[in-house]
Symmetry: C4
Subunit: 252 residues, 4 copies
């Protein structure tokens, strides 16, 4: 039996696979990504190595988005749903799966690491001297930029991809390159925003470690900023950066 | 209504989109790129992490040039105009948009970062012991090398791209790889020139932070060096490195 | 004369080439990878540079897997054999070759480096405070994630590759991208797990240096964890992340 | 007028272009590559940042080999000539151009950098405790590995390239990926061999700075090791790693 839950024809099996992929992807992202924060602190407590952490997050996002074809990010799912690229029900299920996945990942991380090095589990928080409004602006602009890049990587009118859909890419070749660009962009953004706000750009990434450590301070920033930024980014891309070929193809 | 402002047939809509893309691209480039300079200083004031900064600029240029198909660099726009790849009017509009974009970006950065860490906004300046002529030579040779790489990445006689034009690439697949090479080249150049001259290679990148901080010392170097270097690079590529297939195709 | 030792039709010559490739690949991987650990310790004993080491391993794995089309990893060979992608005899020969290769590599490394800097030959060991069960879990989850990525990179239903087989990729273009993703994933995983368990994910990588230095402490972890993780990863990918196109193609 | 100096049909114009490309490529490689060594020493004299230097060399080699389609390395030219991929005359002209280019590059670097930071111009030399035989072995094995990767990236039987030839790649798409693999491999090798021998893998890279600084100590190592290693690597690839498809195509 097949249904129209996604715009492209998918079976229930595929929807379930998608949700499980979001769950596992978000879980692994938190284990390795937040783990790299603990690791940087463990191997050299005095000089925090933000380069290593930024590369780790970027590479993990590129690898996991390529492998599991998942969003791992409620802001991305919401932005794609708001422009009709995935249906609302799928979006809701994905967001629940993402938050459960990051919570599971944070719990696994607690089990893996020696107690004295768990060090706040890599939860995103504001650096001293950064006001909540500045942090909101940073999360807004970083997710805005991220969604511009994701939209371009996802844009079927640009390249060789034949199947439009909610996942990042369709054919293997495109997917490697596209995901690499998204991953590099995340790494670059962390190299700026990381030391100031933790560079979440992802409500689920903040939710999991916050839930396990009980640190909910300024938590609203990491939902409002990324979701507003993601929505603005997708809309901006579609209205301002729409390539002319695309509109030509549509208007016969 | 369509006009011949660009060599390829473009509508006014496309020209406006191009200008807005330059504005947004330059703005975001400065926010994240100069932000990474502040961030490196914030997280570790004693050991400045030039590797992280170099990777951040390279990744941002690769991501933004892929996403927005923009130059973000008056030296690139000027060099392409001087060889007839984009018309002079487009070039002039792009350069104005780029300078406005970087100024806006620098202003946003002032708003985002805590006052005591704003630290000269990552404005490019000469290190102690570097003479203006040495800096001019460095900016010349780095932009020369950059434009060789941009010309090769842009060369439609080399690969699969079907549409010649003023943007870095046409098809999605080519664009990811080509922009990656340009980004990697920028990262490599910053790893050398960064600590000596700031490795601008881009007059607009220097203009924005200089305008906001009022630091105009040696500003002429960052216009003269990159523009001369870019022009020499494009001419050099076209006369010396022109691939024989290209000339064969032209001469029937 | 041709035999059916591999599922794809291969000659004895090809089997021998495969075994020699595993031997040389594993040897070179240990020489350069473990060498980078010694080098990081040599150039800066106080601040161990895990970023450099992680990038070195990832880049070497990408380069060697692309060049020699080899696994260099008993856990990968075993996982592919367990799902019928390579026959058991080939798998056994590969694993012997891999262990011999890493032992040879470790011996070469002893010859190359000045005595006082050989520093335990980069053998993987548990950091203080990490329990054997935690280390087992870390090796399990990192190899699990690695095999998810390898399976996706290897998945012929996804992309342009025409020849299924036991090697990582078939056509040149796919192979570069696919191996790059695998290499980036390894780098990311080392950035987390490196300081805690050494991030082996590869029994042969631990066997060689252990054999030469005689350090067999907790050696079982580096066989059990990766092999269980690799098997789970491959099974997981095939049952949960199987793309629907693949099953459609199979069921006429 | 056309001649058969290269196996593929080339005009004198193309041969001259090739020689000039080697000259400019080698010059720029030394300016930026050795410059990054000075820069690392300039920005942080206590903790030498080998990661940044390794990335810079790898990125420059990838960018320049893609842009100028040049070898920039006598060991590569010699190895390709010894297996008949380029004729001996071309090889000899290339080697002279490469040595002139690196000397010019080193001289430019002296002009660019403040006197007190020129710091031996990044000339490759043995670290304390490394014997000449160990250094010879290191240069041999690193160039051996490099030429395996170059041979694979160059192998027309593997991929989409239609034109065999002495340059690294023919079509744009292949060239970006192939050069990236070569560049990543060089970065990985420097991360190990850099602190011990300088990781030359390239006689011309050592010749230029040695000529300008007059430091000829152990200079023979940097010619003998890379040339032997390169020859062994190319032969090894052709006899042991030849893909079966290639031989099938040849034997009708």
């Amino acid at each position: 039996m097949r249904c129209q839950v996604l715009h492209i024809r998918v079976s229930w099996r595929e929807l379930c696979q998608g949700v499980v992929r979001e769950l596992i992807g978000s879980c692994l992202l938190i284990v390795v990504g937040c783990g790299s924060v603990l690791s940087a602190n463990f191997s050299n407590p005095k000089v925090f190595n933000v380069t290593g952490v930024a590369l780790c997050w970027g590479m993990m996002i590129a690898s996991l988005a390529f492998t599991l074809e998942c969003h791992m990010n409620p802001a991305v799912s919401f932005a794609l749903a708001s422009t009709g690229q995935i249906p609302l029900l799928t979006c809701a299920l994905y967001i629940v799966a993402q938050c459960m996945g990051t919570t599971l990942g944070a719990q696994i991380l607690v089990g893996f690491t020696p107690k004295k090095f768990t060090w706040s589990l890599g939860v995103t928080q504001l650096a001293k001297g950064v006001s909540p409004m500045q942090a909101l602006g940073m999360e807004f602009i970083s997710t805005f930029l991220l969604l511009l890049v994701v939209s371009a990587a996802n844009d079927t009118s640009r390249g060789t991809s034949e199947q439009p859909g909610g996942t990042y890419m369709s054919t293997s070749l495109k997917s490697v390159s596209s995901n690499l660009v998204v991953g590099l962009c995340v790494s670059a953004l962390i190299l700026f925003f990381g030391p100031f706000t933790g560079a979440s750009m992802n409500p689920a990434r903040t939710f999991g470690p916050s839930f396990i450590t009980g640190n909910w301070k300024n938590h609203w920033i990491y939902w409002l900023g990324p979701i507003l930024g993601a929505f603005t980014g997708v809309v901006c891309y579609h209205f301002l950066f729409q390539t002319p070929q695309k509109s030509n193809t549509r208007e016969p």
